[in-house]
């Protein structure tokens, strides 16, 4: 891993302009990591122009002067991968924030480096391979119980592999050799991987299993597949972060990587304080045990913000390589794009649309391409699902980041300020959103939920669509002027919105809704609609069907944990009320 002194080179600073500095006399290659100035701030080469080497610096450059030295490490920006990642919180360049607090106090000062993993901590390594076995790149050599998650120790992806000469159980630091191959190669648990390079896989598969999130509008109407990509654009305060946090909490991924990219400090603190106390609905263990956090908040250096997204996805890929389903949230990709813009403008590059660099679209698609459901080099199956928040200026989706993202991702959850203002949460607009995975996932819903689910979903979407059309008429003539049948459609649509679509992230029960419960709820609403329709054919007025009292109780199901008896009772009451109506 270590490169020799011959690759090192020293140059001197010539110009400092914010996070971008120019050095001369430096032998450097693109994306080399360099140490800038007397304080050895970490930076990365981003442009070479004649003898000028242009560097983005991951720390504040105040006070740095021309003439100070610049040293090339000859390495590219890389993360440390191995046991110890889970439950950590890192900045954009994988410095553990907890370690930084211990080293420099409550505020992030510069010039302090800290490795991503503890190099002292010992882990209990249990081999799953034995002497004489032949291994190749990616193969799992053994395991370490990291949290409740089993960490698989793998042959590094670029290794040649070979026959195992020595391997044994024991207590090791990440730097100690756990396995020796016949050719003398020593394998340690630590892998360093350059963040801008995707980790290799054997094969990419088509996603056909949903990532179940416990959020009704997502699972029910616009599902994302495991290994899929989704974007949540929306104006400020519309619910991007809450939705992402809900996914981080309740999605049935095995590992969660949450990137706070250029957002608020308090939001990361909230995750840090909340996650250890929340239980994974599947394992019953604290959610923190399956989580890695990257926090490069808005007031931390922009160059490190640019890197944070790569740091996060590389960690996600690493867990995928072990055969896990990983979901990655990036909040917000717009801040990442803005970091690119800021650096690009300091480079005096020719700007593209709205000042963003011309390579914006390419960077976005490269990033989302790292998602996917795959067969790993070691033949295990794993996935990385990527969910990116987008923060369009003025809430206008026609801007470049939203548009370029929508060209790539398969699921679009369109947040709508109109809905959030009336506290309809999640404020996802059901008319504009879409999921291109629906067809691929139909079979799963048929098999795992009910053959009735897909038709039920189509029915609900139809009612909502119809409501939108009817609302246009209502706006002109009032609701009393609608035909009888349509007045009831409006009522059923309201029920779908208020009972099914609205979901309160802060209610202890409603925050997570199992697929079965989702199905039961929708079925109950449909049941009312059917009863209403029948009653109308035998002469009931809209007022009569709408005034059915028991249907108003359906909303209480959301807040009730063991809801089945309640649901059965409501159904029965509903039927009785309709019967009584007919009798009268």
């Amino acid at each position: 891993m270590k490169k020799g002194k011959e690759n090192e080179a020293q140059g001197a600073l010539k110009r400092i302009s914010g996070p971008v500095v120019t050095a001369v006399g430096l032998n450097a290659h693109m994306y080399d990591v360099v140490k800038v100035g007397n304080e050895e701030l970490m930076g990365e080469v981003i442009k070479i122009q004649g003898e000028n080497v242009i560097i983005q610096v991951y720390e504040d450059t105040a006070g740095i002067r021309p003439g100070e030295p610049v040293t090339n490490t000859g390495l590219s920006l890389a993360v440390e991968l191995g046991p110890g990642l889970l439950t950590s919180i890192y900045d954009g360049i994988q410095r553990p924030l907890e370690v930084l607090v211990n080293k420099m106090g409550n505020f992030i000062e510069r010039g302090v480096s800290a490795p991503g993993l503890s190099h002292e901590k010992k882990w209990e390594f249990v081999p799953t391979m034995k002497v004489g076995d032949v291994v190749k790149a990616g193969d799992i050599l053994g395991t370490v119980q990291e949290t409740n998650i089993v960490h698989k120790v793998m042959v590094p992806p670029r290794s040649k592999g070979g026959k195992i000469k020595k391997i044994a159980a024991g207590s090791f630091t990440v730097d100690e050799t756990v396995c020796v191959l016949e050719d003398g190669t020593e394998i340690v648990m630590l892998q360093r991987w350059p963040v801008r390079v995707p980790r290799p896989v054997k094969q990419k598969l088509n996603p056909d299993i949903p990532l179940i999130t416990g959020q009704r509008i997502l699972d029910g109407l616009f599902p994302i597949a495991k290994g899929g990509t989704a974007a949540i654009p929306g104006p400020f305060g519309s619910g991007k972060t809450v939705t992402q946090q809900q996914l981080a909490k309740w999605s049935d991924a095995e590992i969660v990587v949450y990137i706070g990219c250029g957002e608020r400090g308090n939001e990361m603190t909230e995750v840090l304080t909340e996650f250890p106390d929340l239980e994974d609905p599947k394992t019953g263990r604290p959610l923190m045990e399956r989580t890695v956090l990257i926090a490069n908040t808005s007031n931390m250096p922009v160059a490190a913000r640019e890197a944070s997204v790569y740091t996060g996805i590389t960690i996600a890929e690493y867990f995928r390589d072990m055969g896990y389903d990983v979901s990655l949230m990036a909040d917000s990709t717009s801040r990442w794009a803005e970091a690119m813009r800021e650096i690009s403008s300091r480079l005096e590059e020719m700007p593209g649309e709205e000042g963003y660099p011309a390579y914006l679209a390419a960077r976005l698609s490269e990033f989302y391409e790292r998602a996917g459901r795959v067969i790993n080099l070691n033949e295990t199956g794993g996935s990385v699902s990527v969910i990116g928040a987008v923060s369009p200026p003025g809430g206008d989706f026609s801007e470049p980041v939203t548009q370029n993202t929508l060209r790539i991702v398969k699921v679009f959850w369109a947040l709508d300020a109109k809905l959030s203002q009336r506290r309809h949460f999640p404020a996802i607009n059901w008319l504009n959103s879409y999921s291109l995975y629906l067809d691929a996932l139909n079979e799963w819903y048929d098999r795992e939920v009910s053959p009735e689910w897909n038709p039920l979903r189509a029915w609900a979407m139809g009612v909502l669509q119809k409501e939108a059309e009817l609302q246009e008429i209502v706006q002109l003539v009032g609701s009393d002027a609608l035909p009888d049948e349509e007045q009831v459609t409006i009522e059923v649509a309201r029920m779908i919105r208020e009972i099914f679509l609205q979901q309160n992230a802060y209610d202890p029960v409603d925050t997570y809704c199992s697929m079965t419960k989702q199905y039961d709820m929708m079925k109950a609403i449909k049941h009312y609609a059917d009863l209403a329709r029948t009653a109308q054919t035998v002469g009931a007025t809209p007022q009569q069907v709408i005034s059915i009292k028991s249907k108003n109780e359906l909303v209480q199901i959301k807040f009730t944990k063991d809801y089945e008896p309640m649901l059965a009772k409501i159904q029965k009451d509903m039927e009785a009320e309709f019967d009584a109506m007919r009798a009268a």
Partner: protein, 461 residues
């Protein structure tokens, strides 16, 4: 200290100097003009050929004959305990006729970012006595909650009422106030000062005044000086500090002016592309730190150009702050004070500071229900204008009336009316009880049976 007379160019607030020894980025610079005045500036770009300085005062009087002294250090602010009760210029110099500040420390004004790991989650409910804030957009200690307003609206009254009435129920600690004015008129400033004096707040306040006729570029440092002071008071002396920054729109204009002078590629509507990051370096300086006693709560005020909430200034602010309180012209025209439109308003930290153990268990659901009902009623107003009241269903008419009632009783209150949270919540139930019970779909049955006036009366009777 070496003095250079190698100014090559002066453009707007920028001075270009060549043939210097190595000068540090962000370094503080003193510029001595021919008549001996010293002006302060900061290095924006440094290289072995040319150094670009941004001058915080007017460049009038600066010429090629001016002397440039690089101080070798970044801008620092002297802070000390005796700052409370003092009035300083937007550049941090005492202007109240009092002595210089006796510095106990000199702190970097750019302020390093609080390590997210060191933060504690804000959770202490601040009662402002204003129903639209306490009831539906609750402020908590350590939050940054701006007021979005427009010219001609009483945002200053709202801010002052908050400063006057803010308290954490059950706690005796008072807030210290740091007030930073950027580009506001003398008259507005006097209005604030008079109120501070009247209520005795001045003794526990530090005031920074950059007024409309003070140099625009100085506004770049005014909020940073104020926040450095606030952090010192909070995290070193243990005060709970309420910071009022007004008017952030003027701050952003100054930022745009510098961007233009540097001939940068402008972002939306001519504001610099890095304005989000720059504003974040101000707004993020709020919060609570684990293991320390104090807190910094920020209430920035901004006026939305053309009442447009999508304008880059409110837009970027809203993306950084933890919600916003929106002051609305229509309500003001109707003669309602405090004219806060709850619909676009939001407090993101509300959930941490309300409910059982903080305010009352029904708070969250009541607030959600008020929103839903008011939003529905408000929408129907548009419809009524077209089809008339008669075309509405019974249900719709009830919501329409609710919206009027909500504005008249919940939103409307006196400038000096200090409602307790219980009063606000009980008032909410009074209003909600005008709707049929089955329309209260946001509230669970249990809470309805406990708090709905209908059941309460029964329980009492």
């Amino acid at each position: 200290m070496k003095e250079y007379r190698t100014v090559t160019q002066i453009a707007g607030p920028l001075v270009f100097v060549e043939k210097t020894e190595p000068v540090g980025y962000s370094e503080l610079v003193n510029i001595v003009t021919a008549d001996g005045t010293v002006k302060r500036g900061q290095v924006l770009d440094t290289s072995d050929e040319i150094v670009v300085i941004q001058v915080f005062e007017t460049t009038a009087g600066i010429g090629r004959d001016s002397g440039i002294r690089f101080t070798g250090e970044t801008i620092k602010m002297p802070v000390g305990k005796d700052m409370l009760g003092r009035i300083l210029s937007g550049g941090g110099k005492p202007i109240d006729g009092g002595p210089e500040i006796v510095p106990e420390k000199r702190l970097e004004i750019t302020g390093a970012a609080i390590n997210p790991y060191a933060r504690a989650s804000p959770a202490d409910f601040i009662q402002t006595g204003i129903s639209t804030i306490d009831g539906t957009n609750t402020l908590v200690r350590g939050q940054k909650l701006p007021i979005f307003s427009s010219s001609g609206l009483p945002h200053n009254d709202v801010a002052l009422q908050i400063a006057r009435q803010a308290k954490v129920p059950g706690s005796t600690e008072e807030f210290a106030v740091v007030f930073a004015a950027m580009g506001i008129t003398r008259e507005e400033a006097n209005y604030f000062m008079a109120d501070f004096e009247k209520t005795g707040a001045l003794e526990r306040a530090v005031v920074f005044l950059n007024l409309a006729d003070d140099p625009a570029v100085e506004r770049i440092i005014t909020p940073r000086l104020a926040l450095t002071t606030a952090e010192y008071l909070a995290f070193e002396l243990g005060y709970h500090v309420l910071v009022i920054l007004t008017d952030m729109t003027n701050y952003c204009e100054a930022l745009r002016q510098i961007g233009a002078a540097r001939e940068e590629v402008p972002g939306r509507r001519g504001y610099p592309g890095y304005m989000y990051t720059d504003l974040a370096s101000i707004y993020e300086r709020a919060g609570i730190i684990k293991g320390t006693k104090g807190s910094v709560t920020q209430i920035p005020i901004l006026t939305m150009p053309g009442d447009d909430i999508t304008h880059p200034i409110p837009d970027l602010t809203g993306y950084i702050t933890e919600g916003q309180i929106v002051v609305n012209r229509d309500l003001h025209r109707k003669g309602i004070y405090a004219p806060i439109n709850v619909l676009p308003s939001l407090s993101r930290l509300m959930n941490l500071g309300i409910g059982k153990g903080h305010t009352r268990e029904d708070h969250k659901k009541v607030s959600d229900q008020l929103y839903a009902a008011y939003a529905e009623g408000n929408d129907l107003r548009g419809l009524v204008a077209i089809v008339g009241k008669d075309a509405l269903s019974e249900r719709d008419r009830m919501f329409l009336e609710f919206a009027d009632l909500f504005e008249d009783r919940f939103v409307r209150q006196g400038l000096y009316e200090d409602r307790s949270i219980e009063e606000t919540l009980d008032l909410s139930w009074d209003l909600l009880s005008t709707l049929p019970e089955e329309q209260l779909v946001r509230i669970d049955r249990e809470l309805i049976q406990k708090y709905h006036p209908k059941y309460r009366k029964k329980a009492q009777g």
